[in-house]
């Protein structure tokens, strides 16, 4: 029970910090949106644009969220709050799941806000199930945030954190980003073979692996060894 209360408190704390100074969420949104815009204007034909819309969305989210995960630990390190949280004591597992949930929520909100813009910019004819699209976006955001939070926690204590994080994160999340991108494309372009559910299963399984493993490992990120 204490763990669940602490997870809730960490989520609320991160959301309150974001509410008071929404720089992280806005930079996440505009970074990803700028990429959507650039690719849209660089594309030669509408048909090409439509086919690459899902992939562009997830490339934008991957690049933008990397910076966002990094920033989520910056507030903890500025005045030594991370150490304070551990000594308070907030259990490392609660700290991890609280921060990862807040990060997943941020990426989901930005992704869902980008979807209508993506549909309009890339002239997408929505042919699939919108529910599957939303589920794919939320699961994809979760599969990004789970390892992203763990790795940002590790790299935030190292020199050159912003350069180190992508090096560790990108190889880890490539399978999830590919699967989420496939779900988005299938739902947008039409899914006559019913493959979207299978790809959703892949993203779901990757979520399970990332959320479990990262939660178990986080103690060694914040505790002195």
């Amino acid at each position: 029970m204490i763990v669940f209360r602490q997870i809730g408190a960490v989520v609320l704390k991160d959301l309150l910090v974001e509410l008071r100074s929404p720089t992280r969420l806005s930079s996440l949104f505009f970074y990803a949106f700028a990429l959507l815009l650039m690719v849209a204007f660089a594309s030669s034909t509408t048909d090409v644009m439509r086919r690459q819309a899902g992939g562009v969305l997830w490339i934008g989210l991957l690049l933008a969220s990397t910076r966002s995960f990094d920033q989520s630990f910056q507030a903890e390190h500025d005045e030594g709050a991370l150490e304070g949280l551990v000594l308070w004591p907030v259990r490392p597992v609660a700290l991890y799941y609280g921060k990862a949930l807040a990060n997943a929520l941020s990426v989901s909100v930005v992704a869902l806000a980008l979807l209508p813009l993506l549909i309009a910019l890339y002239d997408v004819n929505m042919r699939g199930d919108v529910g599957q699209l939303v589920l794919g976006v939320v699961l994809g955001a979760g599969a990004l945030a789970a390892p992203g939070t763990l790795l940002a926690g590790i790299t935030s204590q190292a020199r050159g954190a912003s350069a180190l994080l992508p090096l560790l994160l990108f190889p880890t999340v490539v399978p999830a980003v590919l699967a989420a991108s496939r779900v988005t494309t299938l739902v947008m372009e039409g899914d006559p073979m019913g493959q979207a559910s299978a790809w959703l299963g892949v993203v779901g399984a990757l979520n399970l692996i990332h959320w479990t493993a990262s939660g178990l490992l986080f103690r060694w990120v914040v505790e002195d060894a």
Partner: protein, 228 residues
């Protein structure tokens, strides 16, 4: 904190801690009876902050042992952390939140009750100020950090240079908090480069030099030794 919730006895035996190849604490021995208020002096780099961070369980000892009320501190750290408050150089405040937000957030994280107005008044911070902590002066941040630490009603209070960056009113305020903690029989360990400021609130003193306790005595002796 009530009489049924008294201070914790601290027993440090052979404590050693290094950073890379450099040993900062070198088989340090120290006993602090429950309810004592110990002033630790020593030059820069003598290991004062490292000792406090070991006592706060922020650092794991590389050798030796710290016992609180007879139990190994590192092994039982999850149990003791709720009873230990540590006011360090890092204020542990969220810069984008107001003073009240910080108190509410930290209380919520610990599942603690909070009367933000009362705590803000206790450290002489305005109760109606809504601007973020990043606009506060260093002294105001130190006061707020102290208020956050007091959310816990600690049995062991650790303070690293608590009088630094404070004006005379702020120093008197820290003194009043220390007096209050002493009256509740909390154990206090604090470091200071200015023993004359801290001595009135302490019952014992120790001098740390090159990672070891060089001498122990009274706060008055610490003041006398520090006076040229």
């Amino acid at each position: 904190m009530s009489a049924a919730n008294p201070g914790i006895a601290v027993d440090v035996a052979g404590l050693a801690r290094r950073f890379g190849p450099r040993w900062v604490l070198k088989r340090l021995d120290l006993a602090v009876p429950a309810g004592e208020s110990l002033l630790i002096t020593g030059p820069n780099g003598s290991g004062k902050t490292t000792l406090l961070r070991c006592l706060a369980t922020a650092l794991k000892p590389h050798e030796g042992q710290i016992r609180l009320d007879g139990d190994d501190l590192w092994r039982a750290r999850d149990r003791f952390r709720g009873s230990i408050a540590f006011v360090s150089h890092a204020t542990r405040l969220y810069e984008d939140l107001s003073a009240r937000d910080n108190l509410v957030v930290w209380a919520r994280l610990g599942g603690l009750p909070v009367d933000a107005d009362s705590l803000l008044r206790r450290v002489s911070l305005p109760v109606d100020r809504r601007d973020p902590v990043r606009t506060f002066s260093a002294g105001m941040r130190r006061r707020l950090a102290l208020a956050v630490a007091l959310l816990k009603t600690p049995r062991l209070m650790l303070l690293d240079e608590p009088f630094t960056a404070l004006d005379p009113e702020g120093r008197a305020l820290v003194g009043a908090v220390l007096d209050d903690l002493r009256s509740r029989h909390a154990t206090i360990v604090l470091t200071s480069h200015h023993p004359e400021e801290a001595a009135p609130y302490c019952t014992a003193a120790a001098h740390l030099d090159d990672g070891r306790i060089a001498w122990r005595g009274t706060p008055a002796e610490a003041v006398a030794k520090a006076t040229p």
